[in-house]
Amino acid sequence: MTTLTVKDEDPYGHGIGGWLSHVGEVVFGIPDTYRRELKLHRRRTISLTVLVVLLVTYPVLNSAFLAAFSRNVFPLPLPDDTVVTFMMIFGIMAIGLNIVAGFAGLLDLGYVAFYALGAYTAAFLASSHWDSISIVFLANVTPGFPGIHLPFWIIVPMAILVAGTFGALLGAPTLRLRGDYLAIVTLGFGEIVPVVFRNLADVTFDFHIGPITIAAQHLNLTGGPLGINPIDAPFLPFANLTFNASAGYAPVYLGLFLLLIAILFARNLERSRIGRAWMAIREDELAAEMMGVNTLRTKLLAFALGASFAGVAGSLQASYLGATTSDFFTFSTSILVLIMVILGGIGNIWGVLLGAIALVYVDKTFLPYVGQQLQQIAPTLPNPAQFNFLFFGLILVAMMRFRPEGFLPNRQRAAEFAGAHTQADVEAKVDEIVAVDAVAEVEAAIAEDPSIILDNLGPPPGQAEASGDARAPETIDEERDL
């Protein structure tokens, strides 16, 4: 007898203690997990390992001999500390956009809006911008200093809150639109938000609500085209470390720390009930809704969560550079992150990470390097660094044409791109044909002898009839996907 009972065990114990022990299991199980991954996905695991090792040891390698090599023997396109920090920043964004576009399948062309919101959150809460007040709280700033100065570890959650809230606000009325319209609307937000930041440098208003008056004259709300600077850098009091642009490779590790948390969250979300809901929506939104998935709310969640990742990246960027301005936030930035996701492998966390690192490298180090070398050889040729989007545009066209699932494809997305749609069309057509044939057969039989219908309305026959053909099973090789 098949039972539908549910085991009553509680494998993880109760409460915090249970969770900590589970976490401990996971952490200590890392060597075994690694070994298993190595066996199952050899190439991927090895390349990721190499990458991580390179990343972590790069500062040492660089100062030890790479830089000297590049100076004296042969110039190498070595990324400097700023570039590697931006690899982390864009890595966080790529993972965030991967949630929106890769997991949930929503094309967001205005992702830069949330990047900007994160940056300006840091600018508002950790600079001297509001010079008429002074709020200093646990920050590396003398009390009484004008402006609001909160520490970085408060800024980041605030940025998450701001970006996530705006994501929810923007998404709520628009996520019911179909894919290409949604893309355009998000593009609009991506344009409007920076424009707002650029233009609110001279705001005058005068509101009277009952006894309350809210007024301002020539209020510089957002710093205008010049932006806001300086912005406090992240500061670690115990080690007396400041993670700004002049701090060498230290900010890379701060970025890496945030990046690892981002990867962890994204991975956990992917393998949960909400991750499955996202997959289902992407595959067949209607069926998902019919199976009880609140599709609007689930899409909204993807959109808002993705936005919050960009908020983190923005706050890190602004704090690291010590300044922000709306010029940093253009449509091209949104597209750049999109290319990272597409190139790397849409839906695959490691893929998009690789895409982020590769693209930041190409954009900020490799192309300028080529430009420099070209300058020396043939000064009249155009500088490729200034025409980076010519390459990126071509990459987009080429990727869509030849490998839309990216280089480290998520297997499901690869299957979707490889003709799942034509497959469904074919199957639908076959359905139609079978149905039409079946009806024709029955009609012909009845035309010959109407009493057949009465036989068929009778009780089920006890004998086996070889009537009709069994639909040939279409067994495609099953694929194990653990």
């Binding site: 355009i184 609307v185 409007i192 597209i335 989007f389 545009g393 044409r401």
Partner: protein, 308 residues
């Protein structure tokens, strides 16, 4: 009050140029449900090609005799239209047709890539700075003939109307009355059935891109002769406005595209004049978002069912 009328006239001219470009968007969307992101940049390329001819080949200036001027302009329009039409057909063949069966968003992403490619090619060849030509038309106010001095209607504005309106009429005739136009409408409704009825769907789509490209080219010529200046990222602003026009009027609907464009021409003019050019783009985006969220079928309704 004169201000208002003057702004209206400016808006009219802009609107007509938008209309030519908007038709390209709406035609393509109607037939393959693709938002052709690169269309605005094709328009920019048209203006660049026109500039190259006007300044580089014919060396036109305000001193050129009117007869020669007219003749050359007609030639430039024809040549530019042919070139942009050819470019558009090629782009369709290379970047969109192979993606006919891909998931819906793939061609859109490809179009974004194409947009950047076109911009950068223009930047490569013409440089990042504004490129301008001399004012070719006499600067007299045509209304001064009637004794009106407070409102200006320039030769350029009349020129815009003279070129765009016949083209719009010609397109309308083509789509309604010719066999190929019928094929386009049929393919827009139901490509599979149209194919079964003997329509060569691939050729029809190519034809759509050809026409859209030609119109964009014409719009480019008109633009450079009207504004006397062009730049490699001109396509963004015009593309945005033209696409919003198409959506406002009801994407897929040709009359709607023209109506929407005229409305948007006015919005642009009044925003530039009474607010500030800094905000105009944001306002246009706002209109776009508002239409998509509240009335996605646009003012004149869609000709296609919304295949959600």
């Amino acid at each position: 009050m004169d201000q208002v009328i003057q702004t209206f006239i400016i808006g009219l001219s802009n609107g007509l140029i938008f209309a030519l470009v908007a038709l390209g968007y709406t035609l393509v969307y109607g037939i393959i449900e693709l938002i052709n992101f690169a269309h605005g940049d094709l328009f920019m390329i048209g203006s660049m090609i026109a500039l190259a001819q006007i300044a580089g080949i014919w060396h036109l200036s305000s001193a050129t005799s009117p007869l020669v001027l007219v003749g050359v302009i007609v030639l430039v329009i024809a040549v530019t239209m042919v070139i942009t039409a050819a470019i558009n057909v090629t782009i369709e063949r290379v970047a969109y047709r192979p993606l006919r069966n891909a998931p819906k968003l793939a061609p859109l992403i490809s179009a974004i890539g194409m947009s950047y490619v076109l911009q950068n090619i223009a930047n490569l060849i013409a440089g990042p700075a504004n490129k301008s030509i001399d004012n070719l038309f006499p600067t007299t106010n045509l209304l001064s003939v009637f004794g009106i001095t407070t409102i200006t209607v320039t030769f350029q504005q009349v020129f815009v109307a003279i070129v765009t309106i016949p083209l719009l009429i010609a397109l309308s005739w083509f789509v309604d009355r010719t066999r190929q136009g019928r094929a386009m409408r049929a393919t827009a409704q139901d490509p599979d059935t149209a194919g079964l009825m003997g329509v060569d769907v691939n050729r029809t789509i190519a034809l759509t891109f050809l026409i859209g490209g030609a119109l964009a080219g014409a719009a480019g010529v008109v633009q450079i002769l009207y504004n006397n200046v062009t730049v490699y990222n001109l396509g963004f602003r015009f593309g945005l406005n033209a696409f919003t026009s198409a959506v406002l009027g009801g994407i897929g609907n040709l009359n709607g595209a023209v109506v929407g464009a005229l409305v948007l021409g006015q919005i642009n003019a009044y925003s530039d004049r009474y607010l500030s050019a800094n905000w105009t783009n944001a306002i246009v985006f706002g209109v776009l978002i508002a239409v998509l969220v509240f009335k996605p079928t646009g003012l004149l309704g869609q000709q296609l069912a919304d295949r959600a």
